[in-house]
């Protein structure tokens, strides 16, 4: 009976537990949180702004005027692809806590975003990144043919997505092109360096 009761309580909590088949999660896979939504908390990271001289003037100069103007509102350092073809199409989108650079050229769409806001989820313990991305360790994955990396840098968290118009083409065949693109990202500024342009 005791074992049954132990089994049943997680069932109530996770609505799975004992109800699961062999492929379903076992109790304890996830730490239950009694009032999940209420426990969510956000934390704001302190941005480590790169020195102004680290702004890639060449890349900055190739951004369209609207993109350069948008940099002044970016609450985090903005990274963009350095490839010539992509630079000319960059669109910078900013918000209170994040900034995103989008570019599209030659059948590939690239999105680089950085956010200083993190969400604390009580049931998720820290997980160290296992993939080297730029000078850090992060995570690399593929989502329906879209390659993606996330890593910490400048005190915030960045994400790079690469989508090929044809998911079967070579650049989206594996993570190599993504990681190469990541390594070539350049810093073009942000709110703290708005005088730079």
């Amino acid at each position: 009976m005791r074992s049954m009761a132990r089994c049943f309580i997680p069932l109530l909590v996770a609505a799975a537990g004992c109800a699961s088949s062999g492929d379903a999660p076992a109790p304890g896979d996830v730490t239950p949180s009694p009032a999940p939504a209420a426990l969510a908390r956000s934390t704001l990271a302190t941005v480590s702004w790169p020195a102004p001289e680290r702004v890639d003037r060449q890349a900055l100069g190739r951004l369209r005027p609207d993109a350069r103007a948008a940099l002044a509102l970016a609450p985090v350092p903005v990274l963009v692809p350095s490839a010539e073809a992509l630079l000319g199409s960059v669109v910078i989108v900013t918000d209170e806590h994040w900034a995103s650079a989008w570019a599209q050229a030659d059948g590939v769409t690239v999105t680089v975003s950085g956010t200083r806001l993190a969400h604390r989820v009580p049931s998720i313990a820290p997980i160290a990144g296992k993939d080297p991305v730029r000078a850090a360790r992060g995570f690399v994955t593929e989502n329906e043919g879209i390659w993606s990396a996330t890593w910490p840098e400048n005190g915030v968290v960045y994400t790079l997505d690469v989508e090929c118009a044809d998911p079967a083409e070579a650049r989206c065949a594996d993570r190599a092109w993504l990681l190469g693109l990541a390594s070539e990202l350049v810093y073009v500024g942000g709110a703290a360096t708005k005088e730079a342009p």
């Binding site: 609505a15 799975a16 996830v30 999940p36 989820v121 997980i127 996330t150 044809d166």
Partner: protein
């Protein structure tokens, strides 16, 4: 254990009971628990966390069906058939976050899996059903087959495989804005018609990862079709003839609230019950896993069922949302309990007023006995016409039943409930007034009434020794009576031989031996007590004093009640 698994699987605990007004798809919304994937499709993540509270459902109109594209009809690993099979467009929803894929996913139990949730619109027609913004935000990507919407907190909502895309990068959108139509766009090789929906969030200590979208989608869908009422759940423990019936109930819609339990004996119809009770008793083992402890219920086995015959008990939780009572896990239970040994004395219960004033129940409290068994019980004093409960003004939590010249301690909260006493009727007395009354045996854990062929009903109780009459030590102790007390009174006269005993009565918990009526050497010295632990109190020496004391007690009671 096996049975639990089997039953649990069929439970689909989170059953939604919502009909779509005006929709052909009138089936009620239901969904499998998060983390429960289609068998053989991987190991899911049982995660109730709502990562995007307040989001709108990403498809404009209901119905919509969250399930697998790969492991359902028309999918590469499915059972065959077409992607347009009606089985794909039916409830319950099924989680497919972490469904088997080779893609790295740090939050999936296996470390790899599907990043989001696949959702089918009302039909499998492409470019018909609108996908809409889940939140106010900005469009941060329009790819070849993807659109990203990012909210002010940085949470990203990914829409894949849409056609007729209506937005551009940098555009600010409001919740509900049409973004595109559900389609099958996927480069040169179309996929099935569906919306692949991701939530991406910067999780502290991890990074900007794909988080489980299933619960957020359920909440959003509820916002679209109306709130889903979930049935109560709970557990019925094995019935123990001595300690009674225990279990707990909980309403998933009211996580930190006690709800009512309904116990149905010997009947399949949950309406055939004998009252509902608030299941608010502390169950320590529930505190940590459920975050709330006061969910338990506990009642004695109904005395009328202590007959040696098999009986069945079913337990239900009453739905705070107005749904039907929901039977709990391990219900029904069967049990067979015999009549306990009738020890002590019988005390006449006034009919009908006394019976009513004590809130006795023929079902819960009364057993039928043969005339001989009744006759074998010595007569005690008639039961007071109504109960009087008091506690000391010293702050002690002890509750006492005033029983003639005696004060008798209620042994537990469970006893208070078993006796149907209302805690709000307990009045406060000065300790000195309490001290003026002799301490009798503790109130028995539950009332037990007996009725033979005659109309009379008696309470089986402990003999309170050291009663009316003068002198003599009274009140043998002992937790369990072992023999029928015999008194000088005849069993049928109701004259209350319990008046025997003396002023120096011992405060026994329960009489253990004969007490010769009127004898001053009635048993019950403190030395003879079995595990009494009660304080020996001098007893009033005369019947007259006792009458005065009882009158004073009554006066106190009245006065306190008026306050």
């Amino acid at each position: 254990m096996k049975r639990l698994i089997a039953r649990g699987t069929g439970l689909t605990l989170l059953v939604a009971v919502v009909a779509f007004a005006g929709s052909a798809a009138a089936a009620p919304f239901s969904y499998d628990p998060p983390g429960q994937l289609i068998a053989g499709s991987g190991k899911g993540r049982a995660d109730l966390f709502v990562y995007a509270p307040g989001m709108r459902f990403p498809i404009e109109a209901a119905p919509a069906f969250a399930n697998s594209q790969v492991y359902k009809a028309g999918g590469g690993q499915g059972p065959g058939g077409s992607q347009c099979s009606t089985s794909n467009f039916s409830y319950p929803w099924q989680d497919n976050y972490c469904e088997t894929r080779s893609w790295d996913m740090p939050l999936c139990p296996s470390g790899t899996g599907h990043q989001g949730q696949d959702i089918r619109a009302a039909t499998c027609d492409k470019d018909v059903h609108w996908a809409v913004a889940t939140t106010d935000g900005k469009i941060t990507n329009v790819g070849s087959y993807s659109v990203y919407l990012t909210d002010s907190g940085g949470t990203r909502y990914d829409y894949l495989h849409m056609g007729s895309v209506q937005v551009t990068v940098g555009q600010t959108v409001t919740k509900g804005k049409r973004l595109g139509r559900v389609s099958n766009v996927f480069g040169g090789t179309p996929t099935t018609v569906h919306l692949h929906f991701n939530l991406r969030q910067n999780v502290s200590g991890v990074g900007n990862v794909y988080v489980p979208p299933y619960m957020s989608l359920i909440k959003a869908y509820e916002g679209l079709v109306g709130p889903v009422n979930k049935a109560p759940v709970g557990l019925l423990d094995p019935v123990d003839c001595a300690s009674g019936v225990r279990g707990f109930v909980r309403d998933p819609d009211a996580l930190a609230q006690s709800i009512e339990a309904r116990l149905v004996f010997d009947g399949a119809d949950p309406k055939a019950y004998d009252g509902d009770r608030l299941a608010d008793l502390m169950r320590d083992e529930l505190c940590e896993p459920l975050g709330y402890c006061n969910l338990g219920f506990e009642v004695p086995v109904p005395a009328s069922l202590l007959d040696g015959a098999p009986h069945e008990l079913r337990a239900f939780g009453l739905d705070t949302g107005g749904g039907p009572p929901a039977e709990v896990e391990d219900s029904p239970r069967s049990f067979t309990c015999g009549l306990p040994a009738l020890d002590g004395v019988r005390r006449l219960v006034g009919l009908p007023d006394g019976f009513s004033a004590w809130s006795f129940s023929a079902f819960w409290d009364q057993v039928s006995v043969g005339d001989a068994a009744l006759a074998a019980l010595p007569n005690g004093e008639a039961l007071p016409s109504k109960p009087a409960l008091v506690r000391s003004d010293t702050g002690s939590a002890d509750v006492w039943l005033i029983d003639g010249p005696w004060r008798r301690k209620l042994p537990s909260e469970a006893a208070l409930r078993a006796w149907h006493f209302d805690p709000s009727t307990v009045v406060e007395w000065a300790q000195s007034d309490l001290d003026a009354l002799a301490i009798g045996t503790p109130v028995r854990p539950r009332p037990l009434l007996v009725k033979a062929s005659g109309p009379e009903i008696y309470l089986v109780d402990d003999l309170q020794t050291g009663g009316t009459g003068a002198g003599g030590g009274g009140g043998a102790g002992g937790a369990t009576a072992t023999g029928a007390a015999t008194t000088s009174g005849t069993p049928s006269d109701g004259a209350g031989a319990a008046g025997a005993g003396g002023a120096d009565s011992g405060g026994g918990a329960r009489a253990t031996s004969t007490s010769a009526g009127g004898s001053s050497d009635a048993p019950g010295s403190s030395e003879s007590a079995e595990g009494c632990g009660c304080r020996l109190e001098p007893s009033p020496a005369s019947r007259g004093w006792r009458i005065v004391a009882a009158a004073a007690a009554a006066a106190w009671l009245v006065r306190r009640r008026k306050r």
